[in-house]
Symmetry: C2
Subunit: 87 residues, 2 copies
């Protein structure tokens, strides 16, 4: 997987809700920075296939290629997690 490609794709598709570093600024969007790479990839695949159903994420994942998914999972899993907000 290509972390730089993941960073670019993240900025393009994901960052407006989940943040550039995955520490989503709003509590309705989960934090994903530092989440397990395998889990991020699974979530994206499940949203894309419809196994996991969310209208926003269905749209966001519709045009992701398998390589995009691996790159995004690599990128966000490598970001520092600030997952302690208690909001």
């Amino acid at each position: 997987a290509d972390i730089e490609a993941g960073k670019s794709k993240a900025a393009e598709v994901c960052a407006s809700c989940h943040g550039v570093d995955g520490n989503s600024p709003a509590p309705n969007f989960p934090k994903i920075g530092g989440q397990y790479r395998t889990y991020i990839a699974k979530a994206l695949k499940d949203y894309k296939s419809g196994t996991r159903n969310d209208p926003i994420m269905a749209g966001m994942t519709a045009n992701l290629t398998p390589a995009d998914i691996e790159n995004l999972a690599f990128y966000y899993s490598s970001q520092a997690g600030g997952l302690n907000s208690n909001k």
Copy 2:
């Protein structure tokens, strides 16, 4: 919500997969320590109702009361997130 009740319920139901502090030891289980409280509660409600479908989590949430869910969300959201493993 009662954080001590959440801690007890977490130890009883959640910790074997997600860890006592939510930093799951295995990459097939997502880290939940420090995740947004509202998001944890939503995930648990969605698993319980079947809106979100996972056979393990369906079983784990089947007997959670609404108060249990709020207490668990309070507890895990307050744990320090170590969400940066890149596994």
